[in-house]
């Protein structure tokens, strides 16, 4: 993994343990650098809306964020390698690697316990691993679900694209592009109606901007002042097309203006910036001040779906994707983004703030890797589904008649 050049590692290691104040200064520097390097984040910064909330986090919380990033990373790397090396492996994935800081930063600002009536609720996409892990979903059960096991998170009925776990407020992945965000506003409506303090976060790719539901989502959320946050993960591509094919402006966050709600651009590679923006939005939503649109600029290291072009043990997919017939991502673009890796950025920041040292960081990474290898190994040993169970879970009770035999 490459190191960030703008944070001099060695010397930072020698600083005294970071206080809130020094941490804040670093955060500001970090944020500014991120903005200057790759973003037109005027909406976020010019109006000074974003507080440096990460300064208030305890060391434990900061380490948890780093750990989460590593756990997402290694959950998926373990899965990629399985796909590449075990021909019989049945799981598939829309890999989230590269985008870990987004889900991690957002979930760090949320309440993730208390079940449906108390936890903050997260709606995910067809690219759900990161959102789920950051929200606290059990990785063993996820791994089992990805391989359609009867003891998987959703008993094998869902598979990767449909994982859900309401006990931690993870409302589920969705294979469709469009419906998720409007459904999420419905949860926010119910929350407002029952005077709960919960908030609802909806993740959506840059691809969701062009859907008709994008307008419905923001318009109704704004009109009804719903406790709702739309996190656009703009990874520049929807499937095999650059986002300029479907978005007429550079920053999707600008669409917020029509609805009179905040539209914020953040560096999606920097977990602390993401946290700052999410915290502001969550506070606003909880206070009854309505929705926020956050656009996190980010990038995925793998192709749209599965592992084409990837090699076992290597990070990122540089090879050919047979599905990308008309348009594919330039290797240089991918390498440029990997130079601003969310793992490195968070790791270097925490080292520089004296939250942990390199050894501890490595230890966390190793533990994450081990946990995930074990999770997938556990999954491999889980029972397969019973065919007849396909007739269940149509309605709450009972099962429907078989019709395939005539």
């Amino acid at each position: 993994m490459s190191e960030r050049s703008d944070i001099p590692q060695k010397s930072q290691d020698d600083l005294p343990a970071a206080s809130s104040a020094t941490r804040r200064i670093f955060l500001q520097g970090l944020a500014g650098a991120g903005a200057a390097v790759s973003l037109a984040s005027k909406a976020a910064w010019a109006n000074g809306e974003i507080g440096f909330w990460a300064k208030d986090l305890s060391n434990d919380q900061l380490i948890h964020m780093y750990t989460t990033i590593q756990r997402i990373r290694w959950f998926e790397r373990t899965c990629v390698d399985k796909m590449l090396t075990e021909p019989g492996y049945r799981g598939y994935n829309h890999f989230y690697v590269g985008q870990e800081a987004v889900a991690t930063g957002v979930s760090a600002a949320l309440k993730n316990t208390g079940g449906l009536m108390e936890a903050d609720l997260v709606y995910s996409t067809h690219r759900p691993s990161g959102h789920a892990i950051a929200k606290g979903v059990d990785v063993k059960k996820m791994a089992a679900e990805y391989d359609f096991r009867a003891t998987g998170l959703n008993k094998g009925y869902g598979g990767e694209m449909h994982i859900a776990d309401k006990s931690v407020g993870f409302m589920g992945a969705d294979g469709m592009i469009g419906p998720g965000p409007v459904i999420a506003t419905g949860s926010a409506f119910a929350i407002r109606a029952r005077d709960s303090k919960q908030v609802v976060v909806n993740y959506g790719g840059d691809g969701t901007y062009a859907t008709p539901q994008f307008h419905s989502t923001l318009n109704n959320a704004a009109l009804l002042k719903l406790p709702f946050i739309y996190v656009i993960e703009n990874n520049l591509y929807h499937q095999y097309a650059h986002y300029s094919y479907s978005v007429p402006m550079k920053d999707i966050a600008e669409a917020a203006k029509t609805y009179g709600i905040p539209g914020v651009v953040v560096d999606g590679q920097d977990v602390f910036q993401v946290y700052n923006a999410a915290k502001t939005a969550v506070d606003r939503a909880r206070a009854g001040e309505g929705p926020t649109l956050i656009e996190a600029k980010t990038y995925r290291y793998y192709n749209h779906w599965g592992a084409p072009g990837a090699k076992p043990g290597e990070l990122g997919a540089f090879g050919y994707d047979p599905l990308a017939i008309t348009s594919f991502r330039p290797e240089r673009e991918l390498r440029a983004w990997m130079a601003r890796d969310p793992v490195d950025i968070s790791r270097n920041a925490l080292i520089s703030w004296k939250v942990f040292d390199r050894a501890k960081a490595d230890e966390i990474e190793a533990a994450a890797k081990k946990e995930m290898v074990e999770a997938f190994a556990w999954a491999d040993k889980q029972p397969m589904c019973k065919p007849e169970d396909g007739l269940k879970n149509v309605f709450v009770e009972g099962s429907v008649p078989p019709r395939q035999f005539g």
Binding site: L116, Y157, A164, G186, F189, I191
Partner: protein
């Protein structure tokens, strides 16, 4: 017990469930949840429960349905009334999300939700989109959603209670053509089962099956045929999904004659399913369908009224089938 209109009976059930469950929401557009009926207090859900729970929205029926689904997933009971003009706007959401979420999540998703989908009053003159009455098939083909279609105020109330208490999502098809029906309906809450057809008349010569807004003409025809001496067994489907095969099959095993009546288009109307289910299970019976032709309803009343199935058509077909 008091005389109540179709809408009043339905809203009475909603009101009672909303009083019991402080979290329940109701989403509407242009059809306010207001009803009155002689001698009973006016029901106005918006006034009674306030705009945080009962909301009037813009013209976006897809969002209305999505809002209800999202509320249900978040653990709140929820319902929406989609006016007939927008009855197909939320279709994809109900088909692709509501109908699949339980299967998709292996049972994790909570969906205590009801989608009241209005079907047109088939008013002559309104034409293709406002007189169509075609939604039954679309919704009834969806697995994972219960689809009911009351044909009188009593069932309107009983099915509404049952729908709102069910943890399964329910599409409650509301035939606007029945708005004017008034009959005695119990005041206290009661449930009508979500999966049982109703036998409206018992007989052994012929089975006539209808549903929803088709029922008044079916019942009129039944009376006429009975007067003419025919022993008519008349069935009101009441639930389209699941369809009550047992009641249908038992009846035709007895009568060996099945006349299935749709207000909707012929091809793949509910009557097709009625006949197919019976034909798979009963040997040697004879079958006939009556339906709106496979044509969007033209505006001209002359054309439209000629095309719409009525009691006369049913009587004629029944006589041919039995004779």
């Amino acid at each position: 017990m008091a005389r109540k209109s179709f809408m009043y009976a339905a809203l009475e059930a909603v009101q009672s469930e909303m009083q019991k469950d402080k979290n329940m929401i109701w989403v509407f557009e242009l059809t306010p949840p207001v009803a009155s009926t002689p001698g009973r207090p006016v029901i106005n859900l918006e006034r009674e429960f306030g705009r945080k729970r009962v909301v009037n929205t813009g013209i976006d029926e897809y969002w209305m349905a999505a809002c209800v689904l999202g509320a249900g997933l978040a653990g709140s009971k929820a319902a929406t009334y989609i006016p007939y003009q927008g009855s197909m706007m939320p279709f994809e959401l109900i088909q692709n999300e509501v109908g699949k979420l339980r299967m998709k999540t292996g049972g994790d998703a909570e969906m205590p939700v009801v989608f009241v989908i209005e079907m047109t009053g088939q008013t002559p003159g309104f034409g293709v989109q406002h007189s169509c009455y075609e939604e039954d098939t679309y919704y009834a083909h969806i697995p994972g959603v219960r689809t009911v279609i009351p044909s009188n105020p009593t069932d309107a109330k009983g099915l509404m209670h049952a729908s709102l208490r069910s943890r399964d999502p329910v599409v409650y098809l509301y035939a606007a053509g029945l708005r004017d029906l008034i009959e005695d309906v119990p005041d206290e809450p009661f449930e009508t089962p979500l999966d049982k057809a109703a036998i409206r008349s018992e007989g052994s010569d012929i089975t006539i099956v209808g549903s929803g807004a088709g029922m008044p003409e079916v019942l009129k025809a039944t009376e006429e045929l009975k007067k003419a001496g025919m022993k008519v067994e008349t069935i009101d489907l009441r639930s389209l999904k699941p369809m009550d095969t047992e009641t249908l099959v038992k009846s035709v095993q007895k009568t060996k004659r099945l006349l299935a009546v749709d207000q909707s288009y012929y091809t793949l109307g509910p009557a097709a399913e009625v006949i197919a289910r019976v034909a798979e299970n009963v040997d040697g019976a004879r079958y006939k369908r009556i339906a709106f032709p496979d044509a969007a309803p033209p505006a001209s009343p002359e054309m439209f009224l000629w095309m719409r199935p009525n009691a006369g058509h049913i009587v004629g077909a029944a006589k041919k089938l039995v004779g």
